[in-house]
Symmetry: C2
Subunit: 184 residues, 2 copies
């Protein structure tokens, strides 16, 4: 699928670093077809982001469905490792890499990805609040700080993977992060 190829380009080079020429070459279509199908570079990126959420990034949505808070945390962090170290695909997380620093033309996409990461955090926080209500986590646990800790580690995993850290090394980091539960 052409969208999957575009995903790899955005994932590897970020929003502004991915040129239309590099996108059309990877997708195997012409510039005219690209604009006829997606309208603009930004709309193409939005379509790619949806694709990412349902593919490599699906672990975030699935993790909150785990039966226990402990399993939520484990599936979330291990999903981040797996998605960020797939052989033959770009390293790290699209949402972290693509727009951490941008010029003037990328500010809209940067805001979108910032919201995207914030939504991930909010979903985890709400899941841990439910765990408290169900007695799965202690009543004095703080769902905000637990969720923040997990998203911070996951973001760090993405940066480490981008820098070339191996899946094995990052899995050990995740094991360390999950040694004590609840973490606070």
């Amino acid at each position: 699928m052409a969208l999957e190829k575009a995903l790899d380009v955005f994932w590897e080079h970020g929003y502004e670093g991915a040129s239309i020429a590099s996108l059309t070459e990877a997708m195997g279509i012409s510039g005219k077809s690209l604009y006829a199908a997606f309208g603009s570079k930004e709309e193409l990126f939005l379509a790619v982001l949806q694709r990412y959420e349902q593919g490599p990034g699906a672990y975030a949505r699935k993790s909150v469905l785990a039966p226990t808070a402990r399993e939520v945390a484990r599936t979330y962090l291990e999903g981040a490792v797996r998605a960020g170290t797939q052989p033959g695909r770009p390293a790290g997380c699209l949402g972290v890499r693509a727009a951490l620093a941008v010029g003037v033309t990328g500010q809209a996409v940067q805001a979108i990805l910032t919201d995207w990461r914030a939504a991930n955090h909010a979903a985890l926080r709400e899941r841990f609040q439910r765990a408290i209500d169900e007695g799965d986590l202690p009543a004095d646990a703080d769902p905000e700080i637990i969720a923040r800790y997990l998203t911070t580690v996951a973001d760090g995993v993405s940066v480490q993977a981008t820098g070339g850290a191996s899946a094995k090394a990052l899995q050990r980091v995740v094991d360390v992060a999950l040694l004590h539960w609840p973490p606070a």
Copy 2:
């Protein structure tokens, strides 16, 4: 100092996102003076990176001088929080933000920053190896994994700060990360 202004621009917008026009405007000098003083955009960035290491990023170099491994970890993570949430300055870490995803013109700088982060990791690992030799850490501790855990959390702190997380929230994340020591 003009270098400090250039640092803020690269810090906020990354290497490719920082245009010469935005740099000269922030530095208050002309393009001609910029090239006379630094030679090229890439050489200017290298000078900025050195400045960053001795200013906001100095915590990394200082932390390994702490007397105990525990204090090394604490000063390192708290330094990452403080440097990444300074009011009136760009959020996060220059080394993480500036070149996580780049086009063709930024690959050299991307490699430089990847090496820079790897050097941080190596310095921590060597410090923890020394702690093991001195009996400050258990003989069966793994300096590689402990250092990797800390750099991963610090990288995550940088991403979180870029996304708008507060210093207080990130300090609590660091407290959680340091609750158990050694972490593994």
